[in-house]
Amino acid sequence: MNSKTEYILHLADNGLILAQRLGEWCGHGPVLEQDIALTNIALDVLGQARYFYQYAAEVDGQGKSEDDYAYLRGEREFKNFLLLEQPNGDWAHTIMRQFFYDNFMQLVYTKLLLSTDKQIAAIASKAIKEVNYHLKFSSEWVIRMGDGTEESHERVQNAANTLWEFTGELFVPTDYDNEMASQGIAPDVTSLKNEWENRVNEIFAEATLQVPQAIWFQSGGKTGVHSENLGLLLTDLQYLQRTYPGASW
């Protein structure tokens, strides 16, 4: 598989795995209005995933479909961030995961608008509008919970502390990242770190939250070395395609 396909699949997998997690909230949200809001985000990131899978299929040139990539690859082949496969936990964990990711993707998509690959730039120009809204939504909830009640403050601080170790991976380049950066297709992820941290500092300050200090960051998702969560998630996601090989739905 060439680097470009790998990179596009990395972007697609992020969207799919996050959508899969967010979909678990549907019907179980804290209030109807927010149930609907979170499903909108799920549909946006699922839509982004589909654009990227379809483009990956084209670049890969193996005659595969979007569903082949989503449903018929194993856990070692998925390239999503570890952050996104983490369980939903409570509303605080779900929102904090979202905030870390939105904050990052807003920076990535902004750079991808200038990608030398026209198709990636086109997908980014659609996705950036969605992510701008997601980032506003998740930032506001981080602030609301942080500066809300004692209980919400404790819960959202807890969520930040738990998820922090998965944020380092966002800025660790893989071979395909480096290759894409050298061709001007994708940004150098290490260059996004400062701005990402500045925004975390800014929002956390407003939310009266402490930015966690990590001794060690987990990584590996981008190259297919995942947490135990992913295999179970895929078992669920891929169940029908795996049980009835070759059937169309």
């Binding site: 979909g23 678990e24 019907g27 609907i36 799920a42 699922l46 809300g148 009835y244 739905w249």
Partner: protein
Amino acid sequence: MTILNLEEQFMNRIAADEKIEPKDWMPDKYRKTLIRQIAQHAHSEIVGMLPEANYISRAPSLRRKAALLAKIQDEAGHGLYLYCAAETLGAERDTLMDELHTGKAKYSSIFNYPTLTWADMGAIGWLVDGAAILNQVPLCKCSFGPYARAMVRVCKEESFHQRQGFEILLTLCNGTAEQKQMAQDSLNRWWWPSMMMFGPNDADSPNSEYSMKTKIKRFSNDELRQRFMDATKPQADILGLTIPDPDLKWNEVTGHWDYGEINWEEFNNVVQGNGPCNKLRVKARKEAWDNGKWVREAATAYAAKREQRKSETKQVA
């Protein structure tokens, strides 16, 4: 003006097909009937999300996953519109939620059946939404304004739901033998509960008469059930599926399909809480609401703090 005069005026307005609005005078019974019906309807929408949500994670293609998510999200929206319509009559959403969670309020009994295969997503869209549409279209003309307007919006959005379900089944019926069997099995399980969705026979429907008289309801349970029967049979033929009713027969005289006896004992039991999933559904809704309490409180507390800071800044300036 005496109550009698008001009541007469009210009935004259109903007779003239005028819409009743929340601040208008209305008989207590009309208000109570509406609150009960709208709340039941709202509860049905949000409890109805659960059997389908059971398959979001397992939807067999990305296209199906997106459509299913959007459809279930619509149901949340429909519940929301309806709770708001009930709220115009003074019934707070939190109170209605409590009634759902304590089992005091009812919802459509069909959602107390389990979704066991992917084909059930098709059957729910085709049959359950199909039956719901027949119930809901006349409600767009219901005598109470906010309910009628909510239903106009619901019906507009609902139009893709039934098509979505039918397409799922059509794909299965054109697929492998195993898939077709999955579709038939699903029809077998969902057919009778769907027929029950229209409620008891007219003779046994205690609230129907008043609802018809005040034009909350415009067609009787049995009339709507017959329409459903007649509309669905040719659709089943297109799918190549058999409706599980040995008594099903075309009636030349009436020009309708005659159907067999409905198992009202089962219906009554499911309504009373003994269906396969009653406890599970109410528990899931209650957990969502209880787990959301601190979230709702956090937002309220933050809004109050912000409001206070704003007024403090104003004072300084």
